[in-house]
């Protein structure tokens, strides 16, 4: 197998990182909604935490994208 093909396969494999990202975002929003349904009064106050959690989860997938881009364009 030549290096170019191996790089392409590696870039494809790097996108598996989004599995974890998707699962994490699902957990964040799912738990937020279940918490908000139990206590709607407190839901608004946790809005910031919700999006911080979302951003941190999403980042883990984006690192995979970064690795894919490095493999493809260097």
């Amino acid at each position: 197998m030549d290096v170019a093909a191996a790089k392409d396969i590696g870039a494809g494999l790097a996108t598996i990182a989004f599995v974890g990202s998707g699962a994490g975002i699902g957990v964040v929003f799912g738990n937020y909604i279940s918490g908000a349904l139990r206590n709607p009064g407190a839901a608004q106050t946790q809005f910031t935490n919700l999006y911080i959690g979302y951003a941190l989860c999403e980042l883990q997938g984006l690192f995979g994208l970064l690795i894919a881009l490095i493999l493809l364009f260097t």
Binding site: T48, Y51, I52, Y54, A55, E58, L59, L62, F63, L65, L66, L69
Partner: protein, 250 residues
């Protein structure tokens, strides 16, 4: 074959300039950043031109964005943090502006370049570090120390330090990668439409499907554009708040 989906991110010099061996050309990147800054300044200037107690629609848009950022800053870092309001407000509006301007078909997204987001992040991180040292002197290093037995506190300090050092990268990567991924996705979908329409026969009629998908995705991109500006601003607020208050008074 349609053009590469990554082609939209190429930087093209408009006015080539070279200064002491460095390429300082005025590029489409610079042009769009100027457009964003100019557009936002114009919007703000027009919005508050005829100030009224009962705001017009434009004025209430400006007031809403002001109150949104002020509320965000007040919630995360309290009264002390409001000193940094102009800084956070500028960063928030610039990112929001470039994200939204980038969604105009044919426009160039300034925030889809790692150099831009990294520069913005460096600005935030240096502000945090300088504020921390001015406020607390060497006590700023208490940021890495937690109240715990020594065998926990030492590894935790190391972890906190690593996470502090990773912040510039994570903050800039998030914005850059989101913008890049979103616009690449739209371009790939647009490529499907062109390829299907050109195929002829039944396949041409099918090209309406990716077209509808693009409309949905574009709506999603508006959400992401706002969300990323919000996340960037709120994380900057939190980092600033840590520099101001260290660990107490969360």
């Amino acid at each position: 074959m349609a053009a590469s989906p990554m082609e939209q991110f190429t930087i093209k010099p408009i006015i080539p300039l070279h200064l002491g061996g460095y390429d300082v050309s005025f590029t489409n990147q610079s042009l769009w950043m100027c457009i964003v800054v100019g557009g936002l300044s114009l919007f703000m200037a027009i919005a508050v031109w005829n100030r009224r107690l009962v705001p017009s629609r434009l004025q209430s848009m400006a007031e809403m964005s002001y109150e949104f950022v002020a509320g965000m800053l007040n919630m995360t870092s309290g009264e002390d943090g409001l000193k940094f309001f102009p800084f956070i407000f500028t960063i928030f509006l610039f990112i929001l502006g470039s994200n939204f301007f980038g969604l105009i078909p044919g426009a160039y997204t300034a925030t889809a370049q790692l150099c831009v987001t990294l520069a913005l992040t460096m600005l935030v991180i240096f502000t945090v570090i300088v504020t921390g040292f001015i406020r607390h002197g060497l006590g700023f290093f208490k940021l890495f120390v937690i109240k715990a037995p020594l065998f926990i506190a030492v590894p935790m300090a190391l972890l906190e330090f690593i996470s502090f050092c990773a912040r510039p990268m994570s903050l800039s990567m998030r914005l850059f990668a989101n913008m890049l991924a979103g616009h690449t996705m739209l371009a790939v979908m647009a490529g499907f439409v062109v390829a299907l329409a050109g195929a002829g026969g039944v396949l041409s009629a099918l090209s309406i499907a990716p077209m509808l998908l693009i409309i949905g995705l574009a709506a999603l991109e508006f959400l992401v554009a706002f969300l990323q500006a919000y996340v960037f601003a709120i994380l900057s607020c939190i980092y600033l708040s840590e520099a101001i208050h260290l660990h107490d008074n969360h």
